[in-house]
Subunit: 341 residues, 2 copies
């Protein structure tokens, strides 16, 4: 019933536990080849699998990395998770995953549990209320870091830890400029929750760039950071702008702060008989891989999501620099959804 133990291996090989340990786990002290062989053989014959929990306790390092996302089924986060996985593997670490369903209580719990499991580092993906972090959470993170834990945040710098930050503000500014350069003159916005930093930055970057061109959005609506959030916001927008199929005239260009919301918006409009880009244009943000084959193809700001995830792990693992903010550029990609006749 009980798993094979290092002691079992040592006995069978006729050596001490210490020696078995040194053979099986690349210690600097290398035992003689004859002994080493006996130990390895014994381990193989017995099917020995080291107990990582015991190792962690003895070594004071678990080799565990905690990743917290809002929703693992959201392609934005699953792409980041893929990058995290890849980087973790090359660093020979394991990843503990938590998907919070955008519930802050669950998030707090997850952080506590990861700390309890003594994860070497915790990566928080998915931004929250700007700057604000739960008091308890903050205290816990503080102690965690004092004990050598590393924290890295994606997209929402905290007062502590390191961060990988997409350049939301400037990139959506560039998107606005590109759209204006393409001939668009009327704009509207589908924003995200006002409490979420990423949503606010993207909206502001876009609107401010428009302003520098002497333009102002005709309407702004907002919704959740989800497909359904985009869908319902788009209906309100259509009403506000009195959008009609085949109304003629230059279509208004809408900026949705995420691709997923943009997709929901297009679906909503289609339900109203409106065609993109003929009746209304739209651009998103993120460049979600699964959406590359969408029709019409979506103008957006491409973010290297996998790289972002991988980079977060790398920051978490190089212990020398703390408090680092690493900025990641986005790339404007104009496709059919903003094409003017």
């Amino acid at each position: 019933m009980a798993a094979v133990t290092l002691q079992d291996v040592a006995v069978r090989a006729g050596v001490s536990q210490a020696t078995a340990s040194r053979v099986l786990n690349g210690s600097s002290r290398i035992p003689g080849e004859g002994v080493a062989d006996r130990v390895r053989t014994a381990a193989r014959e017995l099917g020995y699998v080291p107990n990582a929990q015991a190792q962690a306790l003895a070594r004071a390092s678990t080799g565990l990395l905690g990743l917290i996302v809002h929703d693992i089924a959201d392609p934005y986060f699953s792409s980041i998770a893929r990058g995290v996985q890849a980087a973790a593997r090359t660093a020979r670490k394991q990843v503990l995953l938590a998907s919070t369903e955008r519930d802050y209580d669950i998030e707090r719990e997850s952080v506590s549990t990861f700390i309890a499991h003594r994860a070497d580092a915790i990566v928080l993906a998915g931004s929250r209320q700007s700057g604000h972090l739960d008091r308890d959470l903050e205290a816990e993170f503080g102690r965690y870091q004092d004990n050598g834990g590393r924290v890295v945040v994606i997209g929402q710098p905290l007062a502590f830890g390191s961060a990988v930050e997409p350049e939301n503000h400037s990139a959506s500014g560039e998107l606005a400029n590109a759209l204006v350069a393409a001939g668009h003159t009327q704009f509207a916005i589908i924003g995200g929750p006002g409490s979420i930093r990423t949503a606010v930055d993207r909206r502001n970057g876009f609107v401010e760039a428009l302003g520098r061109c002497g333009l102002t959005p005709l309407v702004e609506v907002s919704g959740d950071f989800t497909r359904d959030g985009g869908f319902s916001a788009a209906r309100r927008l259509a009403a506000a702008l009195q959008l009609h199929p085949d109304a003629g005239g230059p279509p208004t260009c809408v900026f949705a702060v995420t691709d997923v919301m943009a997709i929901g918006a297009i679906a909503a409009w289609r339900g109203l008989g409106l065609q993109v880009p003929r009746d209304v244009c739209i651009a998103g943000f993120d460049d979600i891989p699964t959406l590359r084959d969408h029709t019409p193809s979506l103008s957006t700001v491409a973010l290297p999501l996998e790289q972002i995830g991988a980079r977060a792990i790398e920051l978490a693992l190089c212990s020398d620099i703390d408090g680092l903010r690493e900025r990641v550029a986005g790339q404007v990609v104009l496709r059919d959804s903003t094409k003017l006749p």
Copy 2:
């Protein structure tokens, strides 16, 4: 530097370590309220976080669940992962995630590592070579189960452990029937890797049902279980069938064994000037959420992916039944991509 220890809490509360342990972790032996309060206060003041590694060692249970998927960025797997997460949370377990990039060496490594971490259960999602499992892997799993570890497989029953199996064969048969009933008379297949059980079952279920209707696929091609696999297979198919835009006549109806491949196929055909469903029809399998807004909307077999993930965890956690095979039905959904004029 070192984290606060149970001993620290005990000292501050003026009790023994045993008592502190009993207060902080719902033991059946409940200490007096006065004492309990002192302990809790001390723990709070010190910011005590129990060391899960030490607890695991002492309790011989880690509260860890291992999930292994082919690719966490693939919506099929991320949906399953979401269900796994949800079920794990209600069971108060943590999930260890591995994304293998469809590399069997990585998969073997992940299994070993999960076993080393003494995960209470391991869920393998994503089918592999039918029936075949690496010899070493099998031996390792055997010992793991002997030691009380549970293994659950999604979509590919092994010789051991439990399984959650989508009814691939019968569901694709129903899809074929529905398509025939809808008036389709000419069929073709885009299959997956011949070594993968899921791909084979879906293909066979479809072809056999066609056979019962007195029909045979005109052509079969195959590719990887990915968007690109579907893309390139679709080009070969177009050549084989000599598909031309606006050729007239009833369009051939293609069955792609996954939605993701179907999307790739549609993109490939669009590049050739072919329109779905006018020039060629297509149905997929899975009903990926992110693809619900695709144009044309995709006929498919809907699988309750999240439920499947959740169910796998439940099976893993109810220790009484082993070797259980739980079948999950798929539901045929006909949409625009197979619509006849």
